[in-house]
Amino acid sequence: MATHLDGNALAGALSEVFRADVTAARARCAGCGGVSPIARAMVYPDAPGLVARCASCDQVLATIVDAGDRVFLSLSGMSTIELRR
């Protein structure tokens, strides 16, 4: 794949971790402090996993690596996620 995608493309991988879809949920970037729906992140699928970056400051928000029987999820670039009940 030649170019990046966006956070809509994280829906499948994140649905294995979260109870409901979180791509419309707003998250705070730990880099610039900006708050934006996860779907607005830039997603790079060519790494060994998915890498999501802040659309404003390019901070790595999340990485998701599918290792078959395990999934490695880092959300360290998001300081808060607003989850609707």
């Binding site: 170019t3 990046h4 966006d6 809509n8 829906a11 499948g12």
Partner: protein, 253 residues
């Protein structure tokens, strides 16, 4: 009818799960795309604009999965997709050339709650902008808007290379009416009867053929990454607020 409590609303959204899909029909849609109709007895239905992940497994166990927007679906199926072949793709060439009725595929969905449209959610006008096969989720929105009898004004601006590249051409034409306007842009070749210009959209043409920013439309843009980012930047130049523009990129060159 009284409104259901909020907790029920939250739960009424279909949950994502893996499903076994059986190919019911493969229909040539354009010279590069097919329409796939899938039987998925366990499918919970989907909101207009959502997508699914489709996974193929090779005999040696190698797996590849890609996201496809859902053109239409109903609880228990069928699920309809339109797949355009990406020349260097890993999954789309198989779906366009190899897959046959009776074949089984794995699908994960429905997925996504951001790039979706829900009937009755807002009275504001809605502007849809599609580049190529980016029309699939926007067709789903137009069809849901029509089926719901939603009277909020809906406009679709759809950019294609040639007349033969229009996906869901008959269905989109049939949806035209007081609440749904369809405008096509031909970038390489237009029908013989076409009076308008032929060529890529520019900012002026975009302004002339979309709902004005002053009318505060909610905007959905889907297409290749380059298309989406170009259109979204022009829309902001034209005065649309970034928060009013929802985008979905499918990659591409």
């Amino acid at each position: 009818m009284s409104a259901p409590p909020l907790t029920q609303l939250g739960r009424s959204r279909p949950q994502a799960a893996w499903h076994v899909a059986t190919v019911a029909e493969v229909r040539r849609e354009t010279s590069t795309a097919v329409r796939l109709t899938l039987d998925v007895p366990t499918w919970p239905g989907s909101e207009a604009g959502s997508h699914l992940d489709l996974r193929l497994t090779a005999p040696d166990g190698y797996q590849a999965s890609r996201s496809y927007s859902i053109a239409s679906s109903a609880p228990g199926g069928p699920v309809v997709l339109a797949v355009d072949e990406l020349p260097d793709g890993e999954v789309s060439p198989f779906l366009v050339h190899e897959v046959r009725p009776g074949d089984q595929l794995e699908v994960h969905g429905p997925l996504g709650s951001f790039f979706v449209w829900r009937p009755g959610e807002s009275d504001r006008p809605v502007q849809l902008v599609a580049g190529g096969s980016g029309v699939v989720p926007l067709y789903a929105i137009a069809a849901a808007h029509g089926a719901a009898g939603d009277t909020s004004p809906l406009r679709l601006l759809y950019s294609v290379r040639r007349p033969g590249d229009v996906l869901f051409a008959d269905e989109l034409a049939a949806l035209r009416g007081p609440a749904f306007e369809l405008e096509l842009v031909y970038t390489r070749e237009a029908p013989a009867t076409w009076a308008g210009p032929v060529g890529r959209l520019d900012k002026e043409a975009l302004a002339a053929s979309t709902v004005a920013a002053s009318a505060r439309p909610r905007v959905y843009v889907c297409g290749s990454t380059r298309f989406v980012e170009t259109i979204a930047a022009w829309l902001q130049d034209l005065g649309h607020a970034a928060a009013d523009i929802r985008t979905e990129r499918f990659g591409g060159l």
